[in-house]
Subunit: 342 residues, 2 copies
């Protein structure tokens, strides 16, 4: 445990123990035949020098780095935060480390971090892709022979393991709920259709209206970035509408937050003037103030299952066709939709 300047290598251990580096390697990796006496001498030398084998060197010959990448559009989004936690946990238990990358929902940044992860020779990548336009990035991974699994979002034209929530069905249920409460002008704030979750929720929205025998009014669909500012901006446009919607389905919780702020800023009330439903719960906020009616997705489970699918591929437990896992969401009715008394 002496404080050494230069890093201790396998040779230093070998020298101290009076054996060859190969023997030290055998002790480290266990299994192979080493005499008990030698083994103890080597182990003593290892702890005396505080030796830790380099994963770089080992990774180089074994062609395995023990590292995965997790790529998400926004680590601070409470939904992805849970995905991260789930992924980190499963990876660690399986003896892998996770390199975390935040693309800020930026395609170019996504391209860059994927190149970085290739350079790092990660063994696999769990990714919540920016959009369908992420396709070339994923094809690059495929060319490189790096396993990946899509988490939360699929990508058109990419056939791979994927785990996501049942977005279309969830959206249908949310909108049906609003319809059942008597709403007929239901606004929808959503990002671009080239994000699969947005596309599927959009489809669910239309399906629910059609099932109720209603036409879809395209002026009630606002496109905006999936963050509070986007929600706020979109809601303000709704409020300028001649027929303001009486209820709004926000594509996710952050959009809903921004939109609700805009409603309140206009001196109106939620849910009395405008009712709200959205996807994804906000873990801590709901604890303090269970207000938002949400379709709660099992975010942490998306992370754990995604990582498991990935590890199955990497470790050869799963060959063959892609596996698609769809997780049901949980419908939490609270005050924002107006179904409950205040």
């Amino acid at each position: 445990m002496a404080g050494t300047a230069a890093t201790v290598t396998i040779k230093d251990v070998a020298r101290l123990a009076g054996v060859s580096p190969m023997t030290v390697s055998r002790v480290i990796n266990g299994g192979t035949r080493v005499s008990p006496a030698t083994r103890r001498r080597v182990e003593d030398s290892i702890s005396e020098l505080g030796y830790v084998p380099s994963r770089l060197a080992r990774g180089l010959i074994r062609q395995k780095t023990g590292t995965l990448a997790l790529i998400v559009p926004d680590v601070a989004n409470p939904f992805f935060t849970l995905v991260v936690r789930g992924a980190e946990d499963v990876a660690r238990r399986a003896g892998y480390r996770i390199i975390l990358c935040d693309t800020r929902a930026d395609l170019e940044l996504e391209r860059e971090v994927i190149e970085e992860m290739i350079a790092h020779r990660v063994e696999g990548i769990a990714i919540a892709p920016v959009s369908d336009q992420s396709r070339p990035h994923l094809e690059r991974l495929r060319n490189f022979g790096i396993e990946f699994v899509l988490v939360d979002r699929s990508v058109q034209g990419i056939d791979s393991d994927v785990v996501f929530g049942d977005n279309a069905d969830g959206a249908r249920r949310l909108v049906k709920h609003l319809l059942d409460l008597g709403h007929r002008r239901i606004g929808f704030i959503v990002e671009s259709d080239d994000v699969s979750t947005a596309r599927d929720r959009h489809q669910g929205y239309r399906d629910a209206l059609h099932a109720a025998g209603l036409e879809v009014d395209e002026t009630l669909i606002e496109r905006a970035p999936a963050d509070p500012e986007g929600g706020s901006t979109a809601m303000r446009r709704f409020l300028e509408h001649e027929h303001t919607p009486t209820a709004v389905f926000a594509v996710n919780n952050l959009v809903a937050l921004g939109a609700i702020e805009a409603v309140r800023a206009a001196g109106l009330d939620v849910p009395d003037d405008v009712a709200f439903v959205c996807f994804d719960d906000i873990e801590h906020a709901s604890r303090l103030y269970p207000f938002l009616t949400v379709m709660s997705q099992p975010a942490e489970t998306l992370g754990t299952i995604g990582t498991q699918l990935l590890l199955d591929r990497i470790e050869g437990r799963a060959a063959g066709p892609p596996r698609i896992v769809v997780l049901p969401a949980q419908f939490l009715i609270r005050r924002s939709c107006g179904a409950l008394a205040a």
Copy 2:
């Protein structure tokens, strides 16, 4: 861009371009003299093969991996989530990748992940340590010559770069605020004193009471894990007290959430029956429902500054004595303390 099974190496590129691997290396790394014609031929070969140099191999000879570690007690804690985002951003801009580790506030797990990071030969570690008992882990890093910076929490006996919030002062202000509102029985829910933030806030609590000429009533200090369950449990104990506190200072927001739940579960009201203040805002929750009176720390800035301090050391821009950065907190008065009308 052909889809190759085995990974493309520098030799493949060299062969295709009709040069030696060394020349390819020179092209990749720029700077050194290579004839324009050769350079183009090599560049063409690189893109034709889709070659990406291995950071493993490069890291091995250069003794630099381009990787940092970020170790936090809980990634899903909204405070640390922001720290993560700040750190990730600074690291990426500086050309480094971040390996994220979650210790779940478990010392043994912390020891393990630190060993892992040593094995990975990360160039530096930004860590929010579990407690003062993390000291041996940090000494191990020091022996190994791996730079580290403490984020959010200091560790007794460890002299290193560190960035944290002004906990004692923040606590004083919070408690003084409650005192000014007329409260005299102010409960304090806090984790163990061997976490520096807890210790400092504890000190601030005592200071504020003394400054007001009050004795500290030890029965008003409850020790509990710093999470909602801990807060809830501690609050229930307070409620069984013969003299229930009229106000509570919770060591952080998660503790406050749990405690408030317990108050409400007992059929009491916040702030009318029990007023609340705590450290750390909850970004999204406060947007929807600005209820908690908090001492808001600049969490993302802790992440960015911490990472900058670390990079300064790694890249030799800072030698000499440890730098200690203390960031002021922002006092946000909202409803939970009872100072504002409902």
